[in-house]
Symmetry: D3
Subunit: 233 residues, 6 copies
């Protein structure tokens, strides 16, 4: 099945879209998604967990449960968010929210030109990593990761006033910077697995501020917004 305009995967930040459930922001997001779809794109959406995931995880940690079970409750929250988005999109998306990569692959194969929506899949694997896997499976040309700041910085911009914004970076360099940043202050934008998978995938990824969903459209139109992670040659 050919999708006229190619395929695109968008990671929907849990913190931005689901923590406050700001309806006008969600309306803007849905408008953007439908516009992309009208241009003939096959779309994959990956929902994060947000504050709620963090709160539920905190409870289980307090009861001394192992990390993998804590991760799992966070995944359940991300799947709840996927269900919310899928309910809003209705018949325009494939109904099923996958419980494993195996199911996700089946959905990619069976969904025709419908929008695909998924939350997290597996403990130890962030929803960013799921977004990269979905892009790989859909053979997407572009990956857009929304977050709650306007791109990637060399340090955590919320902690360090002199953090420098990075407009464009290649993946190996990014791995080096985040590794340093991680040790310095736990700047948890990307986990290692996401980056390893993204490096192997070799497509451009944009990290942008989710509060301006219209920027997703701008990127598709060819504009450079946020941080571009360039694939290695």
């Amino acid at each position: 099945m050919k999708h006229q305009a190619g395929s695109i995967v968008i990671k929907l930040s849990g913190h931005v879209y689901f923590s406050g459930l700001d309806i006008s922001l969600l309306e803007r997001l849905v408008t953007v998604i439908l516009k992309i779809r009208d241009k003939g794109y096959k779309i994959g959406l990956v929902t994060g967990g947000g504050h709620m995931a963090r709160d539920y995880i905190r409870v289980l940690k307090n009861f001394g449960l192992p990390n993998s079970i804590c991760d799992l409750i966070g995944i359940e929250v991300s799947k709840l968010n996927a269900k919310l988005i899928a309910s809003i999109l209705g018949e325009r998306c494939f109904a099923n929210i996958p419980n494993s990569y195996d199911e996700l692959l089946g959905i990619v194969m069976n969904s025709g030109n419908k929008i695909i929506v998924t939350g997290g899949l597996q403990p130890g694997q962030s929803t960013n990593a799921v977004a990269v896997l979905l892009a790989e499976t859909m053979k997407a040309e572009t990956l857009i990761i929304t977050t709650d700041v306007n791109g990637i910085y060399d340090k955590d911009p919320k902690m360090e006033p002199n953090a420098k914004f990075i407009s464009e970076i290649n993946i190996t360099e990014l791995m080096r910077i985040l590794n340093t940043a991680h040790q310095a202050g736990n700047y948890g934008l990307f986990d290692v697995l996401s980056l390893v998978l993204l490096k192997r995938l070799g497509i451009p990824a944009y990290v942008i501020d989710g509060h301006e969903p219209e920027n997703i459209l701008e990127i598709i139109r060819g504009k450079h917004i946020g941080t571009l992670i360039k694939p290695e040659v």
Copy 2:
């Protein structure tokens, strides 16, 4: 399979236990549940959705979705809460959270002496109604419904300062009062279906304040706490 001390179903209020995720309250609740289990009771737990359910439902209503789909997202939240409780209880409870009454019945049949945990099941059916259905299926002797006030009033106690507390009432009389209350001020403690099912079931039900989970133990010990809904002779 005989459960030495009988069976009991407890509705865990979404607003009380899951809206703020107060860990010390959850710890007290779990302590109570395990004490009841140690006394030889077969236990069924039904989790509500709480504020979070309300927030997710509000989003879907805003997007113009039909009531049944809105109900469904609320059910998903209650199932997330069921998963949280089941994760904490671990091997002491049956792992599966049912998606339908059919699955719930299978769990009742297969779970041996493990604790059963369920959220909501079906649009148009409150988690209170699920609690009554579970009590019926488990042949429970007692149903305890926790809520965010200390029992049933003749009017909504949060709205009407002169609402009168009801210590004991039979089910038909309750249906009459709630019907009146409902028209007056949307006092949504019980939906009609729960009451119809409870009447048909014919076991005593206690409505108590969930903020004092120890009171569940007191009721099992024979104390009268909160409001007792008496079965019809």
Copy 3:
């Protein structure tokens, strides 16, 4: 996805279509369904249980099983009937018969222009109620309920010779009449839940004699046949 001619939900009476399994009647019914489909309608079919459901329920009641388990075996019979109809319709309908409303919603989202077939879903909820829920979920314009008499009467027409036929009625008035009728002689045409859901849905519903399936086509062509339950303004 737009369905050119709109959506329609038809409740197929268990007593009429499945109790005797009259093949020529089933052939007429299938002809009608395919004609409606050829006009461009998206169709939802809900099958009742009929005499067989009643017989199986009677066995379980005799063994002292709770009502919800008795309901469940009746639901299984209605699902068997759904499977029969789906097998006859073949590739023209979506293969899966849902086990819960959640699955039904997924089927509505994934089924494209295929016919949807479902039986009952949940104890305490009649197949009439399922028909209303399906109409709500499919955003149907019309609901047609087939039964074994030619519409609604003010009393049970099989019991009371002077029962008066009602050609048109609004939903609130109907609730009042059935409530009275119910007390008088257990005239079980509609359960309370169906009516509450129908009132909330706000679309016209026709109650007609299933022995003349061609009348379904007449209603779609604009004729008034049987009893019209008018939505409230």
Copy 4:
């Protein structure tokens, strides 16, 4: 897991137990099953479809559907009957009714000392064949097949007044006789597959009249009732 008294598989005739749903016969059957269980046997029950299966199959045949789809609706009826028996037995049996041999094997492995209940599994495979497969999987010592006459005859006893009753026969001889009988008058007691599987299994099988369920107990106590099909040495 050792089952003190061994394992036994009983095929419950659809025609005898489910066609008329004779409650006192079902009560006698359940009494017998529970007595066998109290003796420490692990029990497997296989339910047939009966007249109802035949009626539903007739409808699909009339609509020109292929044999395998016709078989499938008959299997659904046998699964409905399995569900009826499982509901009556409650916690004493494993709740799940298998949809395939794979699931049946899982049930055998997970069910501990609970009674196993299954209907048909697959088109082209009778419920007698399922009973033999289940006996093989459970390593049962005895297979009891209930039917609507008192054992095996050399011709169809309902058609041929001079049909001779066979008290004891080995499997190869039986295959020869049924083959002849089959050509003469479609005496459909056993299909070929059942006999092939039974021959390979090599355990004694009794064919008895289901109208006297107490005879199942007698066989377990060592009496010879009905026809004994002897395994080959």
Copy 5:
């Protein structure tokens, strides 16, 4: 749904395609399948287990497991092979590999013009039998069975140097020959069930050498290759 050029079912020999995993042969096979699809055929593929199935079965037999469980592990291998083919075909085939005939029927109903891929389904039933069942369910006009020799012989051609090739045979005659051959030397090309089902189906079947997948195309173009099993008039 009409498939312009009709439907065809192809049994993919486990020994030929999956035992050595010869990539250039698999590439030729896939090229042939896609060419058939481009001609407008609805295609069903059934994968065998091959040597690997035989090896896994041998282990379980050695541990004394019953035949049905041994069969099951062979079925799992055939499903692995189905998954391999489905992964290669991607969006051009329906993703789900069925676990039972019931699921297979659902896939036939829901798959539109996508290629269907299945492995084995049930112990006691060869993948040849599955191919016949699938042809019946899809109302296929032709069945092509690939194997590791160039057609059917009157004796096992690998054992008997004077085995005679059969170019055309009707099904009853084939049953007679294979029955004889079977007793002589266990020439296991077809099991009884496959032949019984094929006789009932009444469509032509070709048995050809899988090492020349291009011959499948030739058969579709009307050439006679390998052995033609003619349906009875």
Copy 6:
């Protein structure tokens, strides 16, 4: 549920146990597993894919499929191996082979004292990583990883004649060594994710030669065999 003697997780090397399917080795392995069980241990087994996984992956890579789909076919092979082991163990193990971590957690909760068997779960995650996750979820005291050499070396012992055997090492030091080894010669004993998870888990892990399954018993008896990876203090 308390398991008298604690819990243990054993990774069964695909190359050692499943590539040649050496029956006498499998018999020795099963004898060891049952002895450990008789000592009162709760056991978790994780099966690798072996050469067969590698062969199937090679096919998909050749057809240009993305890594995650290639991983998936390897996981299917490991699940086939899990099914083989589960079939041999029969009622002594829980029947279900999980498709996701969520299902694995359910199995840990529901399996009582039965042996748990799982293959791989997710692309990008080795079966070694699954073994660590399972140990975490079961709160195992010991993890034993079988492989095809007698422990960990500072370089790949199959490539470098002067590779030095490591008898005991802490996890951070191991990560450093493997990282170096990995760059030098692709010594793929452990993937990064396994080590990160193992570090977080903090229990001792033994890497031993799977060809001597009796050594597993020796380790349980307190002997030091192979390489001990010590948790960080």
